[in-house]
């Protein structure tokens, strides 16, 4: 998957741009990603990634946390997080 694009640096700080908000949808008991004319319903894994994006944590730190919290192999976590972030970045919903 990451054969074409160079891998993201672990020092990158992913950010939600202005106009994109990750928030709790109380009425439906779920989390949503609110963006211009769009509402995404992130799955459980995406929620875990998004709740760690605070504008300060680096990609490396986020991956470390997830690998630790879910006792998962770091390389696999890194690949999943990177793919997810690239997808949102293409839609303009994450700044990298």
């Amino acid at each position: 998957m990451s054969g074409e694009a160079p891998p993201l640096s672990p020092a990158v700080v992913p950010r939600l741009p202005r106009g994109v908000r990750f928030s709790r949808d109380e009425a439906r008991g779920r989390f949503v990603l609110l963006a211009p004319e769009r509402i995404l319903e992130p799955d459980e894994i995406a929620v875990e990634i998004l709740r760690r994006i605070d504008g300060e944590a680096t990609l490396g730190e986020i991956v470390d946390q997830l690998a630790r919290d879910f006792a998962a192999p770091r390389e696999e976590v890194a690949a999943d997080v990177e793919e997810f972030l690239r997808g949102l970045n293409e839609k303009g919903m994450i700044e990298l």
Partner: protein, 371 residues
């Protein structure tokens, strides 16, 4: 009726007043007058009720929403509730300082309409001299103040040949998103079909230009293109399904399943002055008229895509097939599909019809004799 899923989006038409008079305006031909508009307190209550109902996004529109002096208050109330606010504006009314105040109130996103890439035709369609340049200045303020910007361009015969350049203009304006909206023929646009309808080769070329730009601008600007119904083979699900995802509140407080629903005779609409939003969503006859798929007739009832298209647009079915229950004539399975195509072909070759501009007064055929 408690198992009806709550709406996620609400279009709030704060006023029908507008400095522009575009002949394809999606507002109804009979516009609400200023005297009938909801008060500030009434609108604030509507947004409180929207939050309680589960609405996540509101689209503050009009007319021109900037003509409401209470726009900041409305944005602030939505922000307090965590509701995502999208301002849909002509850009000629809100100055730099007011935009900053809206930002302070918590405004999330701005959608700005443009009419064309060239000043002359842009101002002509808007019916306002200087409108285009004011929009360009407004777009700069939007970007300088850090808002994400969506540009909306309605595409019709008069500008379709310049679509490629208009897309480039939107990118230069710093838009993160562009809506290429081929005219939907309801309301004022239906009245102006003979001057707005493009010819088929122009539409084909426009679709090609759009696809090319989508690929070229990937990662820089997202382009959402609304297919022109009159040249489609399958209909679009109206509002994601009638009474299923969204609702629309008019300036006078009437609550509609879609902005054109009032064109359907016999539907009973309720207003926020008499009922709560939750009561209207669950129980207003207009919302239940076409909810779900039980009402669907042939050829739709046995069709494999009915769950996604939901029979298409009720207003278009009424306008072309004469019955709101009929299949949307945009679908090639509709008995009226050829009627729709013929209308489009005939309208596309019409010339010499001046625009009938949107005005607060209902257009009349001839002036009444005086004296």
């Amino acid at each position: 009726m408690n198992d009806i899923p709550a709406p996620i989006g609400m279009l709030a038409e704060l006023t029908h007043r507008c400095p522009l008079s575009c002949p394809y305006c999606s507002n109804p031909v009979e516009l609400d007058a200023r005297q009938g508009e909801l008060s500030t307190a009434e609108w604030l209550r509507v947004f409180d009720e929207a939050k309680a109902l589960g609405v996540l996004q509101v689209h503050l529109s009009g007319g021109e929403p900037g003509l409401r002096r209470d726009l900041e208050e409305i944005v602030a109330r939505c922000a307090e509730h965590g509701i995502y606010t999208n301002l849909i504006t002509s850009g000629v009314q809100i100055d730099e300082a007011r935009l900053a105040r809206l930002g302070d109130a918590g405004l999330d996103h701005v959608q700005l309409s443009i009419q064309d890439v060239e000043i002359g035709p842009a101002d002509e369609v808007a019916g306002m001299k200087g409108a285009h340049l004011r929009k360009m200045a407004f777009a700069r303020h939007v970007r300088e103040q850090g808002f994400p910007l969506t540009v909306n361009l309605v595409v019709h015969r008069g500008n379709i040949a310049r679509l490629g350049r208009a897309i480039d203009l939107a990118a230069e304006m710093g838009a993160k998103r562009l809506e290429v909206a081929h005219v939907q023929y309801y309301g004022w646009a239906f009245v102006n079909r003979a001057s707005l309808m493009p010819e088929w080769p122009q539409v084909e070329e426009a679709l090609k230009v759009t696809a090319e730009a989508q690929a070229r601008l990937k990662g820089r600007m997202v382009i959402d293109s609304v297919t022109p119904d009159y040249y489609a083979r399958r209909p679009k699900a109206c509002m994601g399904g009638w009474g299923s995802r969204a609702l629309n509140v008019t300036p006078a407080g009437k609550v509609l399943p879609c902005h054109a629903a009032e064109t359907i005779p016999g539907l009973e609409f309720w207003t926020v002055r008499d009922h709560s939003l939750a009561d209207i969503w669950a129980n207003a006859p207009a919302f239940n008229a076409f909810r779900g798929t039980d009402w669907i007739e042939e050829p739709c009832s046995s069709c494999e895509i009915k769950a996604s298209c939901r029979g298409g647009c009720r207003c278009q079915a009424l306008a072309i097939a004469g019955r709101a229950e009929a299949a949307d004539p945009a679908c090639e399975k509709s008995a009226y599909h050829e009627v729709l195509r013929d209308m489009a072909r005939e309208d596309a070759v019409q010339r010499g019809h001046p625009y009938r501009y949107r005005t607060m007064k209902t257009p009349t055929r001839d002036p009444e004799p005086v004296g």
